[in-house]
């Protein structure tokens, strides 16, 4: 046994750890999506909404199959019937809410209370449904969050229940209590949102690996704080326009109209800023097995997109909606990178995660999609 070891030398460790980028492409086209959108919309109207479940499946199939990572498109696998079931339940719930809020206000707090009880169920069921019917490379995603976990997440610190109970006993009639509740909510919301994202990521699994989430509530707070400043800035400019810049001769209606422009732009910019930065925060702090993500959306880029989308949609009486949808997805895809650290083969879901296993669960009684 004097022979030196004949096996090849061990690869240097850093070679295996160097993250590799997987090419993410968006292949959707406005022409194709326009046809899909208009045909499904027409069928939905003709069937008084019944077809909307099929329309949802068709549109989601198109979105999913337009996004490819390393040449493989995503797959949306849901059947329309469970979606239709979910929508019928949603319509009934909405009708109860609508009736009590339009005609029988004393019942409204109790309706809201009942809504509070079923909300965690809706959240966890629809996340599970969505994950189970989303697949990449013949492997479906899973979501394992349950009712209790969802309830602990959304009712954290009892903020939302406080609001509902407050409505029940009409605390909102009291101006100070309402103001205090609003402030408490504004300052606690970023932490609440971070917990919600944590819940969604942590219980999502793919190929036997569970999501890991590392963003902090404080990072969300910074985003919402800056957005609040943007809204206040827009409001200041709007009031300057309204009271200082417009001569009285132009009439009050014109000054309201002109002042609404900076107010709207401020609101739009804040909204876009939140969308971009919350997306970045969540993706950049999410790890799924060997997969990591880099999201580089900017508030300015999003705002430009939103404003041009709004103008295009209004000017075309809605016909440019597919164009707006496609260019928004394109922008999001352009600003997303998928990185692999290590070996993809480490993801091994066994046979349960194959696409056909998802279909086998179709018989499950509560297989329905409640997300609208």
């Amino acid at each position: 046994m004097t022979e030196p070891d004949a096996s090849p030398p061990v690869m240097p460790a850093d070679e295996g750890l160097q993250p590799q980028e997987m090419l993410l492409e968006f292949r959707g086209s406005v022409r194709e999506y326009f046809r899909i959108w208009i045909v499904n919309l027409c069928l939905t109207l003709l069937t008084l909404g019944v077809f909307s479940a099929w329309a949802k499946v068709r549109k989601k199939r198109y979105f999913y199959s337009s996004i490819t990572i390393d040449k493989t498109p995503f797959q949306y696998l849901a059947e329309p019937l469970p979606i239709l079931k979910g929508r019928i339940i949603a319509v009934v719930l909405f009708a109860v809410y609508w009736f009590s809020s339009s005609f029988y206000l004393p019942a409204l707090p109790w309706v809201l209370g009942a809504g509070m009880i079923i909300a965690p169920w809706v959240l966890s069921r629809s996340a599970a449904f969505n994950a189970r019917y989303s697949a990449f490379r013949n492997m479906t995603f899973q979501f394992r969050g349950n009712y209790l976990g969802a309830a602990q997440t959304i009712y954290w610190l009892g903020l939302v229940p406080l609001l509902v109970v407050g409505t029940m006993f009409q605390w909102w009639g009291n101006f100070q209590a309402a103001g205090f509740a609003f402030l408490a909510f504004y300052f606690a919301f970023p932490w609440w949102l971070s917990r919600l994202k944590d819940f969604m990521v942590r219980y999502t699994a793919y190929g036997g690996a569970r999501g890991r989430y590392s963003a902090r509530g404080g990072q969300f707070f910074r985003v919402y704080f800056v957005a609040g400043l943007i809204v206040i800035g827009g409001g200041i400019v709007a009031s300057l326009v309204m009271f200082k810049l417009i001569p009285d001769a132009m009439g009050s209606q014109w000054s309201v109209l002109l002042a609404s422009v900076p107010a709207y732009l401020g609101y739009m910019l804040a909204y876009a800023y939140i969308q971009a930065n919350v997306s970045n925060l969540v993706w950049n702090h999410t790890q799924l097995g060997p997969l990591g993500f880099r999201s580089t959306l900017t508030g300015g880029g999003m705002a430009k997109l939103y404003v041009t989308n709004a103008l295009g949609i209004l000017a075309s009486l809605g016909l440019l909606i597919p164009w707006a949808v496609m260019r928004t997805l394109q922008y999001r895809a352009d600003n997303m990178r998928v990185l692999v650290e290590g070996d993809l083969a480490a993801l091994n879901g066994g046979s349960v995660s194959a696409v056909q296993a998802a279909g086998a669960e179709l018989g499950e009684m509560f297989d329905l999609d409640l997300s609208l």
Partner: protein
């Protein structure tokens, strides 16, 4: 494809690991052979399932052992068993430019027809079936809420004026189908000035300022006849029904755009509802003109009181009229004068009988 050898180039996924293997799937006499970097796999072509066509995206063929084969879309794939038959038909429609153009025309016709005729007619019939009592809880509560807040204060009118107006109001409404639900309330209100409201459930509120603005009882009755029109024609219920339907339709139409920009979904719904509201005002005006004629009064009283109201507030038509819930006042005055000249000039859909 019987008899022919047919080969698809694509990728194979085993369903256990997210690895992409270059592969070919070859069909010979109803048997499919998958060649990849592992052992070749054999299947009966009839056991395969092809995913629905969507756009020009790659399609997936499900293999009986849990594997999947991905390949570019080709017409030949239609000869294999399909995963979903209904979606195949929809996909066929989606491929055609003519169908898309026809859809645009059909949607435009459905929406404008539904908005102009379908929804108002449906709401009128549904509202007629819903008992008036449904609205009463809401009306009573709203009045209590307004009384508790700073909006309404007790009326400062003297008892004689009130009794006289109550008697004439009763005479005006006694023969109407909803006579049992009418109740006239007087309130002092600094915020809203000269005004009158039809509350849900049949209660009509008139402000002291309105009574004082009118120079004759006939003018007060003209205003009340308009509010009676709102109640008699079930405008509260119809507004709720039509408004909800518009909101649902707007959400459906702009569903995709909702997340892209919230303002796009809200604005059309607001505009659509404002137009319905203006239609109701015109309808209530027409009803009032007829009711006044029936009680031997002239719509001229309505015209004079509206004129005084307009001159007092100094309101002029402006750029935001399309957002308004009420028609332009000068138009309403013109219609009242026309009705005073010719009792038959009103809208025939509205009937007082």
């Amino acid at each position: 494809m019987n008899g022919h050898a047919l080969t698809f180039q694509g990728y194979y996924y085993n369903g256990r690991q997210p690895l992409r293997h270059s592969a070919t799937l070859q069909f010979v006499y109803g048997e499919a052979t998958l060649t990849w970097d592992g052992e070749p796999l054999h299947y009966a072509a009839s056991n395969l399932l092809v995913s629905p066509r969507v756009g020009r995206a790659d399609r997936f063929i499900a293999l009986p052992d849990g594997g999947q084969f991905q390949c570019p879309d080709m017409p030949a794939l239609d000869a294999l068993p399909q995963d979903s038959q209904t979606e195949g038909a929809v996909a066929w429609l989606e491929q055609r430019v003519g169908v898309a153009l026809a859809s645009v025309v059909l949607i435009a016709a459905l929406l404008s027809g539904g908005y102009e005729f379908g929804l108002p007619v449906a709401a009128r019939h549904v509202a007629a079936e819903i008992p008036m009592e449904t609205e009463q809880a809401l009306g009573d509560e709203s009045l209590v809420w307004l009384d508790d807040s700073d909006w309404f204060k007790p009326s400062g009118l003297d008892q004689a004026t009130r009794d006289r107006l109550l008697r004439k109001f009763a005479e005006l409404s006694v023969d109407l189908p909803h006579a049992q639900y009418y109740r006239l309330e007087f309130r002092e209100s600094g915020y809203v000035g000269a005004n009158a409201f039809a509350m849900p459930g049949g209660t009509i509120v008139i402000t002291d300022a309105m009574v004082k603005l009118a120079e004759t009882d006939e003018e007060v009755l003209a205003v009340l006849a308009h509010e009676i029109g709102h109640v008699e024609l079930r405008h509260v219920m119809r507004q709720v029904l039509q408004g909800s339907a518009v909101a649902v339709a707007a959400a459906t139409l702009a569903g995709d755009a909702a997340t892209l920009s919230a303002a796009v979904t809200g604005l059309p719904a607001v505009l659509a509802q404002a137009k319905y509201s203006r239609d109701f005002e015109t309808e209530a005006d027409d009803f009032a003109f007829q009711l006044l004629h029936k009680h031997a009064m002239s719509p001229e009283a309505f015209a004079t009181v509206m004129e005084r109201l307009e001159s007092k507030c100094g309101c002029k038509p402006g750029v935001l009229d399309f957002l308004s819930t009420h028609p332009v006042t000068s138009e309403r005055i013109k219609r009242a004068r026309a009705a005073a000249q010719d009792p038959a000039s009103h809208d025939h859909r509205v009937s007082v009988e």
